[in-house]
Amino acid sequence: MAVAGLDKQNSVTLGRILGRTNVGEAEESGGKMTATVRIPEDQLVYDPGVLVLPHGGILELTLINDDKNTHCAVLPSNGDTQFIWLVNHSKGTATLELDGPGYYWYGSTTGNDEGRGLTGAIVVGGNVPDEAKLDRPPQPQVEV
């Protein structure tokens, strides 16, 4: 829905409404999931802002700051939250362990980056293992 300005900085509101960004998918090869997320200039957004993983596991994430300001990423991972400082025009990596299914928010805790738009989501698809499921017939689902 093209409501003017919701996906721009300092337009209708001060920042950018969360989640109105591009959607990307992790690549999977040799049992390894990889993805790249960039911070474009003056957009205060992770791109893709919604990163979709096919299932839970280990993600090797590359983060690139193309902006002319400094940001960071505070990322979910089993064990402890992962932190990376991203100065102007920098590139780094994060190794994340995430369960699926479910989705996780992450953000830049610098200043009010999170509020202005630097809040991204990692969506993990898939199902729990069969042994964790309930012993019952298939149940009615919400219709899409």
Partner: protein, 562 residues
């Protein structure tokens, strides 16, 4: 040519940007099953969820006692806070019971957090954070009720229904076992219990139409040992209490989201089970609906149900019975005491779960009559579609999950009481997996409510004393060898009462309400009482008048001045 990127390196653990030490002494390495069996022989420690398998929540420590408790002061405070967008962002609360082993404290908080702290100073030794999906189904808030320890490991459940084992010296994950289906609306909030070579957990999700269960895993590896469903399927004992030609059993509830107590001589685990689903619409699940709202004795080795007592057959009021069963022996009888949401105290023979004595423990009860043997006659309940019905106690219950305690010194039971009603209006809906399945609209009374802490004589069922509060009492209680009972209020005061008289002998304002389980321990001969303070959870259900209170996130350790 484009300028090369500055190397930002590799992400690091957030705890590395704190004063966290990253290492704790190997105190749990020698915590064997034998030590757990005899946990109360180590008064300096609090080794299991209830302090001991018997569920009594009693510490023999008596340095802090009725004569000097007025001098009690906070020794240290540990604070957690909340960061970023996390699941249950408006409902997180501190509901855990801290474990202490030889000077090191192990405690979980909300959102997959677990900490090892120096129990004498509050210094953070290590932390673990399990990433919790933002969209995981949570009935009653982003909460966790604690950890278990044994043989060098710390065990914890996660919001997305995993049970994990951590290295107790550094918080590194050793094994990880999913045991619930988050797509079905399952989650996990229970504190695990280590029994023999197993770690035992249970499922949450009773408002989402799941089939409640408890699971046992090998302590060392996480390999599954058994699963016990609390809703029988066709052909199993108890299935006759469900519609024979329908699907109601498949989504019947009876979750085990509170840690069981355990009798090692009988080798029985004593569970309380949750409400049936849909909570308030009994028309789609005619029958008694076993084993919902029951005390269930389960063989620890096989996971088989050996005996049960159903407190509220065919529940129409959301009267979970998940709360504790306190085990004690009196006059040659092996007893279990249980204070139910339905407003009645039950003293059972725990060898076969037969009733010995039943008595009310809250002033206002009109949902039904219960005789001295626990037989129920329903009186007031949502029945006709769209017809509002008010009843006492409301679905918050006369007592929530927060725990009663028992003092072997006074031979009295102590219970936190909520005297509050509610109005439920039946609204039938179709079941859809992962969507809340209540079958009613519910409004809990706001102003017309009160609370108390009461002492009961299990021999007679008579109330011995009562301390009253303007608001419902919904923190667990702790009894100590110092002739004291400790507990907190929804407004943040942490109190001590004289265990024999009920006199209010000390209090301290912690700044946020209490909805957790205090414990007691000592380090180098100095006794501490520790109380997690952090309001939240299902407050709209048990105390809507306090829904707007500050969350808080502090752990207070109290001691006497040198």
């Amino acid at each position: 040519m484009a300028e090369e990127y500055v190397d930002a390196g590799t992400a690091i653990r957030y705890q590395d940007l704190s004063a966290d030490k990253g290492v704790a002494p190997p105190v749990t390495k020698g915590v064997t099953y034998d030590r757990l069996l005899n946990a109360r022989d180590e008064p300096q420690n609090w080794l299991t969820y209830y302090g001991a398998y018997n569920g009594q929540r009693y510490s023999p420590l008596n340095q802090i006692n009725a004569s000097n408790v007025g001098d009690l002061k906070p020794e240290w405070v540990y604070q957690v806070g909340s960061m970023g967008l996390h699941s249950g962002a408006s409902t997180y609360a501190w509901e855990a019971s801290p474990i202490v082993v030889d000077g090191t404290m192990f405690v979980s908080a909300w959102d997959g957090m677990c900490f090892a702290l120096d129990a004498a100073t509050g210094e953070e030794l290590w932390r673990y954070k399990h990433a919790s999906p933002f969209d995981v189904s949570l009935c009653c808030g982003n909460v966790n009720r604690g950890v278990a320890v044994a043989e060098g490991l710390v065990f914890m459940t996660t919001l997305n229904a995993h049970v994990i084992a951590l290295d107790a010296t550094n918080g590194e994950k050793v094994w990880d076992q999913p045991y619930g289906d988050v797509r079905a609306g399952e989650s996990a909030t229970v504190a695990p219990l280590v029994v023999k070579d197993m770690v035992i957990v249970g499922s949450s999700g009773g408002e989402f139409g799941v089939r409640g269960h408890t699971d046992a895993f090998k302590r060392e590896t996480g390999e599954r040992v058994w699963r016990c469903y609390m809703i029988p399927k066709p052909g199993e004992p108890g299935f006759e209490t469900w519609p024979q030609d329908g699907e109601a059993w498949q989504r019947g509830g009876a979750n085990c989201w509170i840690t069981p107590s355990y009798d090692p001589d009988l080798n029985l685990l004593y569970y309380g089970t949750g409400n049936p689903c849909p909570d308030f619409d009994g028309g789609v699940r005619e029958g008694d609906n076993l084993y919902t709202d029951s005390g269930v004795a389960v063989d620890a080795d096989s996971g088989e149900i050996k005996a049960h007592f159903q407190y509220t057959p065919h529940d129409l009021w959301d009267y979970d019975s998940v709360m504790e069963h306190l085990l004690f022996d009196l006059d040659g009888q092996k007893l279990a005491a249980h204070f139910d949401k339905n407003g009645f105290m039950y003293i059972l023979d725990r060898t076969d779960m037969s009733p010995v004595r039943v008595a009310p423990f809250v002033d206002r009860i009109d949902w039904g009559e219960v005789d001295e043997m626990g037989n129920v006659t329903p009186k007031v309940y949502p029945d006709a579609e769209g017809d509002p019905v008010h009843f006492w106690p409301g679905p918050a219950g006369a007592k929530e999950w927060t725990h009663a305690c028992y003092s072997p010194d006074t031979e009295l039971l102590y219970v936190p009481v909520q005297d509050v009603g509610a109005t439920a209006t039946r609204r039938r809906r179709e079941f859809k997996e992962s969507i809340p399945y209540w079958g009613a609209g519910v409004a809990v009374d706001g102003d017309d409510q009160s609370g108390y802490v009461s002492a009961y004589d299990p021999r007679t069922g008579q109330e011995r004393w009562r301390w009253t509060n303007d608001l419902c009492m919904c923190s667990s209680l702790l009894a100590t060898g110092g002739n004291l009972v400790f507990g907190g209020t929804p407004t943040g005061e942490f109190h001590a009462w004289n265990a024999e008289t009920g006199d209010d002998v000390w209090k301290f304002q912690c700044g946020s309400g209490h909805h957790s389980s205090p414990s007691s321990y000592s380090v180098d001969g100095k006794q501490f009482v520790v109380a997690p303070s952090g309001w939240g959870g299902w407050a709209e259900g048990f105390l809507p008048k306090m829904l707007g209170s500050s969350h808080g996130s502090a752990l207070f350790a109290f001691s006497l001045p040198e």
